[in-house]
Subunit: 425 residues, 2 copies
Amino acid sequence: MALPQTHKAVVWRPPARDIRVEQVPIPKIEHPDDAIVKIQLAGLCGSDLHVYRGDEDVHEPHVCGHELIGHVVALGSSFGPNAPRERPALYATLKLGDKVVVPFTISCGECEFCRRGFTARCIKSCLLGQPILPGGQAQYARIPHAGGTLFALETLTNTGPALPDASLLLLADILPTGIFVALQALSHPKLAPALTGTAWPASASPALGAYFNDAVDARAAIVPADKTLQIAVVGLGPVGLCALFALLDMLATLRAHYRVIGVDLNPARRAKAQAMYDIVAKAENMRGEFCVADGDEAKDVVKQWGRGGCHAVLEVVGHPSALSLSLALLGPVGIISSCGVHQAPAIPFTGRELYNANATLEFGRCSVRAVFPAALRLLLKRRDIFGIIGDSGLVERVVGLDDAPEAYEKFNRGEWGKVVFDPWA
Amino acid sequence: MALPQTHKAVVWRPPARDIRVEQVPIPKIEHPDDAIVKIQLAGLCGSDLHVYRGDEDVHEPHVCGHELIGHVVALGSSFGPNAPRERPALYATLKLGDKVVVPFTISCGECEFCRRGFTARCIKSCLLGQPILPGGQAQYARIPHAGGTLFALETLTNTGPALPDASLLLLADILPTGIFVALQALSHPKLAPALTGTAWPASASPALGAYFNDAVDARAAIVPADKTLQIAVVGLGPVGLCALFALLDMLATLRAHYRVIGVDLNPARRAKAQAMYDIVAKAENMRGEFCVADGDEAKDVVKQWGRGGCHAVLEVVGHPSALSLSLALLGPVGIISSCGVHQAPAIPFTGRELYNANATLEFGRCSVRAVFPAALRLLLKRRDIFGIIGDSGLVERVVGLDDAPEAYEKFNRGEWGKVVFDPWA
């Protein structure tokens, strides 16, 4: 397949807020494990804004963007029927022309971390959209360790009416991240007593069950498994919405009752969250209550819920103020689960505050590649909200790359919601 | 039983380092749920040193101490055969003269937190040894909510040769705390892939298993369950030793291989940890390696272990420097489990550090009452180290209350190990 020498790309220049659309050299195969993807659609993500504002630890011009969907147009020599059987399957099966989603970080699929599912911390991990790895807001991208990294959409069958490609793009980062931040809370041993009816410590670890199987007191241990969880989602941007609906879907799977509050200082974001919830509530049997609020209102609401606060707070912002609010909403023996891309500021807590709260803090990047199958299932199930492109959907608009400077500015100001670029428009 | 009007007690006076032994009014029954305990032995704990040094948030004179063992000498009117059946069992069964261990915090046994096993955050929780609740370094103590709080030792049968009472005192705080800090690490979903051979996210939550049951890639998901965990214990004072041997015992239960390093800047503490390990290694089939080191050496050792650091670090100090060292020893996707009684200083991490590490931080106070049965079993099993009183044991010496000023000073300087007071000597 003959590829051009240059292509159009969105380039960020230091120190901040300088977004230009330029013709740059096209990426080429550099290593046998590489693939070149011709980009069909590319996303603009909240974490791109950290770079945009000059808050990230990056100081050179580079092609931005880490959410992409497209077709394979070139493959390194590792790909083919002779690929060793112990390598990730795509080295044997991926073909030119295959449609793929690219996770926002590269993962080899073969190191200890990848094999255990922690693809976010692959020993070869690299975030797309950096000086060392040009990103996806462009017409082509080079994907290293492509056999481990890529998710081939041809493996989809029986998925019903086709989803818009702009929706499939949500798989690249934000929908798996929403699942991750909800799962870190719901899978924590601290929630097991509420969900299972078995007191701690016996409920903390199935493998250590016999170690702790004595009831402290036969009567005190009779824990009504009322399974009502009080949870706040702080941040209702696109990732926050993914977290919210991933949380609700998992709560439904657990048959747990809930009080969930979505918190954001932006009224348009709150309204969108409520509107999406109302759509889901028409389709599903919901076992709880949902409301939206700004930070101060949220403190009042959560105080009225009782028990000293939330069982868990999902923090989906990436700013110390969101962490402070999260701790204020958290009840004793709770979990703050954060997927926010935090920066240089210090964690805004004293040791005493965290000791007194018996708090768990979970930080980090989602292992997107490991979550893909569950994310795809959720995307298909919730096509009623994720499949809509427009004001009432998660992806609000699709624009050309030439609109990138405006898109960054308006997304940063909260005037636009999630933007997807069509690099060929 | 006629009780005296006054008794001898250890009193701390502000601002710092002022410990006196005084005659103070004896505590009396104030509420039907109270018990009065005649104290047989009382412990001096590392967290008493925070008060001693003036670092705690307390500014009035008070009777110190939160580890006590003794006999019931008075009971409130809630106790007796007519106690309602739904109340904790001791309201019906506890008798004058019963031998009891008192956990360092009061817990009612009847609120949501107690019923779920989180007795440390009982809605009536109160730390013994405060202005509002005189402590146990004395001859008598009032125990509120005694039916929920106390652990009656008469329930012990078939425990073999009697343990010294000074060893039973370890149940009041530090041995359960050691179990707690180890359990928070070992029960965390992040360790499930290493322990079970099932990759994340499928391994994160049994209740959500079906949600994540797709292998990302059939071959990549074949995770050798080699179960070798790399763990550091930062702080080898008495609580650190409890954490270390609780950790090893739980690793043995899990049949996990390990590399464990005990870290302390005090060479005497390191030597004691190594000596105790050698005793245990003679008695048990150990599945790993153990060494001791100071902070700098530990970084070198852990670096040589590979995989970027430890799966988990137990922090048993309560100082920001220990947290910083913990993060330096931690590998990607790891857990810092802290039971240190942290104070006013800020958590010494930036958001970016924690995001980049995919780190979990666990903070808090142990729910001692819920851990008692497991702690007692461990105490009996490890009588070879916990049952020794003297230089080679955990409890180094038993002294009279009149020696309290010297005991605080020397324990604070690291010259004395764990001290127990005999209030009648």
